[in-house]
Symmetry: C2
Subunit: 333 residues, 2 copies
């Protein structure tokens, strides 16, 4: 391994290792997102797909399948499937969150309209479903339909829990599974299933994806209170302004003094925010070590992910997946 | 058959014939629309499900399966599946159309918000997908995933074609297949597939559902220009005010004089509508026999549906399906 290799981030090395597979996935995505009849569909989708993103979910499927020795054609379908599901949820999320920016570009709901985002999301969801059907694996269909239900359920839960100070860490975890971890774990699990891995290996792949997704999301929550727009593609304090009960806030609320409680009531529950409130929120969280506690949780989840890999074959991909788990929390270490 | 039986509408007689099956479908719908974690989900769904609706799509699945001699358990899953897909599309449609009323009640997007409608629709779509997976039939998955893609594609097409006077009858047909006929034909087709019907019978069931759906939708378009709010659950002229290019308008535009063309440009393409425009639209359509021509199309599609049934077993259900095809156009005869 040359110096260049060492310097690369783990997902970039995974991407390089799986470059031929990923190219096949990209071809399939372009092919299947087309619509003979409705040109609006590829316009909206291309806007998102071309904006790039890390393609982390399809990469996880490809990695899991190859790690388990798969050499058939269907890991490509499954990787494209998870990217379609992901893109569909992004389109719907942007409508629900009234977002204006995604991956550093204006969102589809801003460029076109909410209607297009809703319907093109539905189209991609249906397409993902067609793609996975082609694999002929019932177990794959079960995993991905369960993940889809968990995603939607988590999103609804987030909607209703969003401004509710009674939100517990258990509810937070459920929301995070819906938002991120359910698709991560489905992505790795179906890779193992299509490769015919044994039950213990499939279970390990599920655990890896689940824990990686949770670590990733907690890190994202932390960065929202401390990252820069360039790093995370959004502005510091967005979650606070959108009154989201992310993990650091939940931890701070749990230890709040009466005055602090009144502050969270006003800014999050009622949404009456004023100049300087973000700074005050940061100060309160610092007082209770809320950021440090959330950071410790993220590191523990990353460890869980790395330990799960021990059940899987000794393979260069396994090493890169392990480094990936370390990497998602390195942003906050 | 007593006088009461004769007086009933065909779908009511089908419903009575299949009452035990339909009760099982209702139980399954209530069971599967629940969410342990997100109470907003059953609230939104119950609002729609309890409002009733005709349950026409699940009825078609049950009828097709029983007509082909099925006596297993999975027609119940499939009937619940098509109702979930239908309900999911209604929730998303109401967001896209900014509707305020559905089945004579305020829409979910009005009672809660667009966010809930989008996400609960996604949840029901995922649930439908879990349900059909339980049947273990790959062919069923293909049919329903293809139908889902056609539905979404048709909706996007409707969105972009909505105010475009260049919309042809061919595009209209594609939109109608997405809006209505794709789920009708999938509903009947999967009933035959699960029953193990032969290819010719499955094809006939597809054709019946497709033609019935098209006849139904054209009739709906006609009623929008001539029905009463009590009959159709919406107000006369809604489509005109929403600038929808439905079949009578497309036919009138095709024969428009220059002045008429200017009228359609102003009212539909540009959306500048004034007092008396609806009456003028009706007068122009009458001048070109547009309503009569659309009515003739609907009758021809109903005939296609009835003829398709000839390939199916001689059975009381077949008679009721035939009468149902006649009934959907009787509202406009």
């Amino acid at each position: 391994m040359g110096l260049d290799e060492v310097a690369r981030k783990p997902h970039e090395r995974l991407m390089a290792w799986l470059a031929a597979d990923m190219e096949a996935v990209n071809v399939m995505i372009r092919d299947r997102m087309a619509s003979e009849h409705a040109p609006r569909i590829p316009q909206v989708t291309a806007h998102l797909v071309e904006a790039g993103g890390k393609r982390l979910r399809p990469l996880l499927t490809l990695a899991a399948a190859r790690l388990c020795g798969y050499d058939g054609p269907f890991h490509i379908h499954l990787a494209a499937t998870v990217e379609f599901i992901h893109t569909a949820t992004l389109l719907h999320d942007d409508v629900v969150d009234e977002s204006r920016q995604r991956r550093g570009r204006p969102t589809a709901n801003l460029l076109w309209d909410n209607k297009s985002s809703v319907l093109v999301g539905d189209y991609l969801f249906a397409r993902s479903f067609q793609l996975m059907t082609e694999t002929g694996s019932m177990r794959v269909m079960e995993i991905l339909s369960n993940a889809s239900a968990t995603i939607a359920e988590g999103e609804v839960l987030q909607l209703t829990a969003a401004q509710d100070l009674a939100t517990t860490e258990a509810i937070y975890l459920q929301v995070v599974r819906g938002k991120t971890a359910a698709l991560f774990s489905a992505a790795t699990e179906v890779g193992g299933v299509i490769a015919g891995a044994d039950a213990a290996q499939v279970r390990a792949l599920y655990t890896y994806g689940d824990a990686l997704g949770i670590a990733f999301q907690i890190a994202d929550d932390l960065l929202d209170y401390g990252g820069s727009s360039a790093t995370i593609g959004k502005n510091v304090g967005d979650d606070f302004r959108e009154r989201k009960l992310t993990l650091p806030v939940i931890k701070a609320v749990a230890h709040a003094t009466p005055e602090e409680r009144a502050f969270w009531e006003r800014t999050i529950a009622k949404g009456h925010q004023a100049e300087g409130d973000l700074e005050q929120a940061l100060a309160i969280m610092a007082r209770h070590g809320a950021m440090e506690a959330a950071r410790a949780d993220a590191l523990a989840w990353a460890d869980t992910a790395r330990h799960a890999l021990e059940a899987l074959p000794d393979h260069p991909i396994r090493g890169m997946l392990s480094e990936l788990a370390a990497y998602v929390v390195s942003r906050i270490s």
